[in-house]
């Protein structure tokens, strides 16, 4: 039996961005490939514009579903300030894949708090590898902002211990039967994300 590697993936963003769906697809793919997997999130009031994080742990045998502080191998940040918020959870030398989109909450827009100055530059100063993707722009160009999800998964695909095509096929399979046109779009979004990462 081949040895399966351990991997801690932390996915973060805002309610409604597809964070949990992305984590679900990662976990399903890992499961299909024979990994043990656990996925957990705390998203009590996420649909109300709050912060969402999802922990995906894969390996030969996963015990705790929670990634220990500072032990994430990959951080997938669906919003740039959210990526910064969780950046200290990434181990030194880890990977941060970040959607450079800025989503300003009412407390910032209303003047109670400031949005961080150049969060991308701050991410790049954390001693990790940073892949920056304008996933919102790519998704908008393709015609559906819900495609952010597939762009982000494409951008992190090369860092995952999955054979080529496994993750992409899992995404496409979600739409193939009922919405084949969305399957095509998601494949394009995935490819665009992969292209940025290379």
């Amino acid at each position: 039996m081949r040895t399966l590697p351990f991997l801690n993936i932390l996915v973060c963003g805002i309610g409604g961005q597809g964070v949990m769906t992305a984590a679900e697809i990662l976990a399903q793919t890992a499961s299909d490939l024979g990994f043990d997997v656990k996925k957990t999130e705390i998203a009590g009031m996420a649909q109300r514009g709050g912060v969402v994080t999802s922990h995906v742990r894969i390996g030969p045998k996963v015990l705790s579903p929670v990634i220990a502080p500072g032990q994430a191998d990959i951080l997938a940040g669906f919003e740039v300030a959210e990526a910064l918020r969780w950046s200290d959870q990434v181990r030194p030398g880890g990977l941060i894949v970040v959607n450079t989109q800025r989503l300003v909450p009412p407390v910032v827009s209303g003047g109670l708090y400031a949005y961080p100055d150049d969060p991308l530059a701050q991410l790049k100063a954390t001693g990790t590898t940073v892949t920056a993707v304008d996933a919102a722009e790519i998704a908008a160009t393709l015609g559906d902002r819900r495609l952010i999800n597939s762009v982000m998964l494409g951008a992190m695909a090369c860092a995952l211990p999955f054979p080529p095509g496994a993750l992409e096929n899992k995404i496409v399979a979600r739409f193939q039967a009922k919405r084949p046109e969305l399957a095509v779009l998601n494949r394009q979004a995935f490819a665009a994300g992969s292209g940025v990462a290379q």
Binding site: G44, R48, V62, S64, A68, L84, P106
Partner: protein, 627 residues
Amino acid sequence: MTMVAETMTAKSGSGARRLLSGDEAIARAVWESGTRVAAGYPGTPATEILESLAQYSGLHTEWSVNEKVALEVALGASMAGARAFCAMKHVGLNVASDPLMTMTLTGVIGGLVIAVADDVGQSSSQNEQDSRYWGRFAHVPVLEPADSQEAYAMTKRAFELSEQFETLVILRLTTRVCHVKALVTPGERVERRVPGFTINPARWVMVPANAKKRVPLQLERERKLAVFGESFDLTIDEPGDDRRAGFVVSGPAYLHLREAFPNAPLIKLGLSYPLPLERIRALAATVDKLVVVEETEPLIEGELRAAGLTVYGKDILPRIGELTADIVGPAIRRLIGEPEPAAPPARGPAPSVFPRPPTLCAACPHIGVFHTLFAMRRKVVIMGDIGCYTLGAGHPWHALDSCISMGAAMGMALGIDKAGGEGDAKKAVLAVMGDSTFLHMGMQGLLNIVYNRGNVTALILDNRTTGMTGGQNHPGTGHEIHGLAAPQVDFAKLCEALGVKPERIKVVNPYDLNGLFRTIRDEIKVPEPSVVITNQPCTLIGEFVRREAHQVLDDKCTGCGSCMDLGCPAISVRERAEKHTADGEAFEATYTQIDARACTGCTMCVAACNHGAIQPIANTAAAGSCC
């Protein structure tokens, strides 16, 4: 863990493994167990158990109006010989505790399992409490799974235990069991015969003469369960080479502990009440120190001390929140004198990022209510309740003064009214709650206001769903748990039946800010019970109709910021600039913009703008992004 998996595979044949949350795994096991009746009330993190169960056929699944009713429905089914199931969050079992404390005397016929989910870490609850107390209080067994596969296996065994000992069984979950997805190997449903109810007053009519005879039986059952627990196979002894510390552990804390100490000997409690004292004594005899790792209260720890064992527990571990590996690890290492592994090089200070608190959705009908209440803030005391509208306590409305328990706003409002406080003499008292909460436990409070001649204005925010838990049906929605049509309660008629005068019951459109303000202002002036019911649906349900998006016309916007005070998340600041009044006084102008993708055309901001600067986007195709 491995043992559990093997047991299940042997039982259920060659089922393919599936990625299921704890909630989904329990639903699957409930269905496979041949359960005929399942009831509950939504509550994070347990909501998805019944939602998932509703997708299976062959059983009656219902949203009950509250947890007490749900448990009584389950008890009735059990009395008829059917397997029955109940799901609720921790505070729900407080509500259901009245039948719980007596049905433990009657016992059950068909297996009856209560899944109760503790929100350890308090991600979305008003308190953090330990439902394992109910096992001790009611003298009933408590099972504690650690993950989805165990939740599945223990649910199935819980039904067997329930029938074997004729007792209800509590399945104690935590957020980290309910909402973690892990691999489960499911089986198939086994149908069971339901014999029907047998009249037996000595068993079911709990008048004192009958109930007194049941108390010794209840205690005898508890003693037998303790003996059973000594050989229960879902309580697992895991030997280990490291004898410096041995552990007694339950629930998901087991996984965190194992991660931190892979080689320590331990007993993982499947049945965590009654405790298998002899097994624990045997472990204690072989290790230097015995440590109890349990989340929240020191229940096991206290019982082991009472049994004469020397144990460590909450003296070295936190009593609040989850016991993750990074918390358990250092605490235990300090206890056994093991140095901490070398810390990774310091990363500098943690990044400083603004908070992103949850807020009401764009076009949420509650926005109009709290904007209005903010406008009369100094003249009202606002008793609040549990639901999305609790967010009315937050920025920018600050228009909700309490949140305690389901339906509490009514009683508390009457209390404030009757206290007659000097500082409240010129204030009106309001009670604010949603439709589902009103039906859960609020209507009794309104009846009480009427009966006791209170001067309270009750606001019932009817958005036709149980919003905060993700949109579940209730008797006010016209649909049942499967989405099928159901009799729909008429809130105005219900309030009238409770004794509120018909002329004191007003149904208003919360998007009509002026109308809403006038209605509430008029009703709080009347010195008798009155009810204002808002009538627009939650934006997240199918009934909600999206209308044309609006925009701020830059040439008309004066920067007054009035629309920002509404608190709609679709409105944001485009530009701030220093301006001067005609008198030369400096002020900061706040020019705004509307996110056309988020705007649904509810028009509340149109009413909030005194300058006609907010108008529909004529050509929606041209609507662009603006954040």
